[in-house]
Chain length 237, copies 2
């Protein structure tokens, strides 16, 4: 928690913040070992960042005072990430990684090699997803919550949503064996598609290439999804 | 397990492999759902890679026949990674990530913000470390085991080992706030130093810069160690 992310309703008179949830209170005490008088980084969801002084820390409340939260959050990555739904624990970690790196649009996609049971995982509960996004934002000192959409059918996604995602965006399909090495230093908007463990099947690759995506690869090494997604984002932007 | 990593002593007459350990047998059955006649990728530790046919799969043994394991493993990254010892679970994942990406030299370093208890973790048992390295190699279809060294004192490391690590290697110190952005597309040998959660302390940064390291950063976002290490390796090489 390199930033304490505040909901707008936790802020009073533009200079006082009160928080009461057990997770952040515990973190303040156990990880920050915070004491009254400490100055920590605060941010308001969707808004600015600043420094605030801890004025009270009790069992059920922490209070900060600050002058203004007016530093803008770090810039987002210009990417819409389309990720074949990973298995639950890897989903949780991948959401934290990509949120910390600045991704603001995520679509979780069903493909042939996604196990159907993954769609029943409690990790897909919006409350759980929100928790992982908050952890990613707090880590990276960001305040802007990503949007996460579910696309539970591959064909409807290809027919109805992908064309729209490729309007004024470069589509990049990351898949082992594609002809082009992952480009670097991009600044234009990108839709980045990443397959599941075991990869996209040939039919899926074909459909995405037909839709206008360029196939890219990360070299001869096959990486786990959570490694590949970080490596791709780090190289692309 | 995209490659079945064989010890030299598991290979007989250059064309037959027998394996008996429960982990790989279980993986063959439960993940690969392998059946006699299936053709899978095999590699011999420290050596080549090839395809082999499963000729027997019982409760306590699997046998493969193959013509030759003569495809070379993927090229390594020209990097010696010096990583402040992460907390145990993050160490395990980081070792798998960096092994999959092709790192062959790892030094785990004590720094001021490394909790001393981490050095007592069972994850540092050479047998446990070896397990994570094997998982990384199997993931990336590599056969060459990384070397992992422990440097339990910061000053002895700086005085005795770092100078040697910087002989004919470019030293890069990854630390938030350093002046230079992480370079890309390097081909020369690098020693890459990455701090713990909470970062190196100013004294440590100073000593590493004095020793000849260049300070680099990954932008305004503070990433978890396991995210940062993958992002740095992906950008650098």
């Amino acid at each position: 928690m390199n930033l304490i992310l505040l909901a707008p309703e936790e802020i009073h008179h533009d200079r006082l913040a009160c928080l009461r949830d057990p997770r952040r209170l515990r973190h303040l005490k156990e990880v920050h070992r915070a004491r009254v008088g400490d100055v920590l980084t605060l941010g308001v969801a969707g808004g600015g960042i600043g420094r605030g002084e801890l004025t009270l820390l009790s069992d059920d409340e922490a209070r900060f005072t600050f002058d203004g939260l007016d530093t803008p959050p770090p810039p987002p990555l210009p990417v819409h990430l389309v990720l074949a739904l990973p298995r639950p624990r890897m989903l949780a970690r991948s959401l934290e990684h990509v949120t910390a790196m600045g991704v603001k649009q995520v679509t979780l996609l069903h493909t042939r090699r996604v196990e159907k049971s993954y769609w029943q995982s409690p990790e897909l509960d919006p409350v759980k997803i929100h928790e992982h996004l908050v952890l990613g934002l707090e880590q990276a000192r960001d305040t802007v919550m990503p949007e996460v959409n579910l696309a539970k059918g591959f064909r409807p996604f290809i027919d109805e949503r992908l064309p729209e995602l490729l309007t004024q965006r470069r589509g990049l399909l990351a898949h082992p064996g594609m002809p082009q090495a992952c480009p670097t230093g991009l600044t234009e908007p990108v839709t980045l598609l990443i397959g599941p463990e075991g990869g996209f099947i040939p039919y899926e690759v074909e459909r995405m290439l037909e839709a206008g995506c360029e196939g890219i690869h990360l070299g001869p090494r096959i990486l786990r999804v959570e490694t590949a997604v970080v490596a791709l984002l780090a190289r692309l932007f």
